[in-house]
Subunit: 251 residues, 2 copies
């Protein structure tokens, strides 16, 4: 059995907050401390970005020429578009109300992953960028939360839309202490046939499961603990989930 | 807290098997019967398809001209390609070793959702098609498993690859007793700003969470029970998750 536990009671996170300490306290309040072997901590991008001071004051953003053009096309705030461009390596789609890019971290997502919901008072004039290095931050959190030899796996979650399907789902933008991508090439099924599905996006699946609790909007819960999973061996970051654009199978 | 419980001990499923009865027995063995309000049963496509008799003997499939051409392009078994074409409404991508189509159910997926792993003895010459009407089958299972007034939500799960990301994740191809797509338009965040994420693919997220247990390959578990989730009101099938090709945002 796998159990997914909400971690509540974290105050509004501010730049410089010790997220590991705050999460340890929340785990304690939830009766989940000390951690057990195989525990997986899922932390939403939002609180990690806030702790890293990734909040931007839009009134201080000077949109460049490309941002002004794209803002016209997409009918978005030119200052937001400027930030998206700074965060992105390529534009995937720009039409009215839609701006999809490849983020510098490799993820293809809307608005460069920039968040304007639940970013605290003054939200209208502020925007929250993705963490600088979510895989590195996941590894640091895993290290800081290690207790009695058991370092938890850590997944940094966000939510993305998808081609061909309505609605967003949770995805992993950072991971440590587990194989974000599980490669099963060469394994066989019960009948001795080679598996057709050879790679499983484990960290994405964990982030999605966590999203059943972290949710979105008013009742947003910033982190969860997942307990009881038999994790496969290995340690690979969320970066391994990114498929290079030239390898993309769907176009 | 959400808990996800494996349902084990189901024998190899055959055409005509009473899946509801077999699942009820498995729930009993797991100490999960009677069901509780809010319980969600996730059933893998594989056992539903087997119970529905969707197994095809490849030796009886006569590939047509288009199948022979596509088989050459994709280097796949022409009989399998013929089945894919019969199951699909449009071809999305056909290159060596890759055949992605829009299934008649609307899902964009590889090989028409046709399964050749863990389909039992003689697998090499057999293929398993998707259920005829997964939403309808989910509703029927929900009805048949209702006890003491509590009908479980039911999700029929499969696993898809995705553009731009490596690895497969669980997705919902059937759903009943819950809103497969949760529409939050008009809701506000903690700071009173309108939510940017307005639709959540709840049934996909449930199928993905279940995939952490159902897995793939040798140790495959055919169904899970999810308990403890606060389901939003409403009842919408998995068909509502399908985005019409002309509405697709990513191309």
């Amino acid at each position: 059995m796998i159990s997914i536990h909400p971690l509540t009671g974290l105050a509004e996170i501010c730049e410089g907050d010790d997220l590991a300490m705050l999460l340890r306290d929340a785990l304690g309040r939830a009766g989940l401390w000390p951690l057990q072997k195989g525990d997986i901590l899922v932390v939403t991008q939002k609180i990690l970005s806030k702790a890293e001071g990734r909040m931007v004051d839009l009134t201080e953003v000077e949109p460049g020429e490309q941002a002004l053009e794209l803002a016209e096309t997409t009918r978005k705030d030119p200052r937001l578009v400027e930030l998206v461009l700074r965060e992105s390596s390529a534009i995937v789609r720009a039409v009215p109300h839609i701006l999809i890019t490849r983020h510098r971290l490799g993820h293809v997502m809307a608005n460069g992953g920039i968040d304007r919901s639940n970013i605290g008072p003054g939200g209208a004039e502020r925007a929250l960028l993705l963490p600088v290095d979510p895989d590195g931050s996941a590894a640091a959190l895993s290290h800081d939360l290690a207790s009695e030899g058991a370092a938890p796996a850590v997944v940094i979650s966000d939510s993305f839309g998808r081609p061909w399907r309505h609605g967003v789902v949770g995805v992993a933008i950072g991971a440590a202490g587990l194989p974000a991508l599980v490669d099963r090439r060469g394994e066989e099924d019960r009948d001795g046939r080679r598996l057709e599905v050879t790679q499983i996006a484990l960290a994405d699946q964990i982030a999605t499961a966590a999203a059943l609790i972290t949710g979105e909007g008013a009742e947003s819960i910033p982190a969860v603990l997942m307990r009881g999973m038999r994790l496969p061996p290995g340690d690979a970051p969320a970066a391994t989930l990114v498929r290079p654009i030239e390898e993309d199978l769907f176009r």
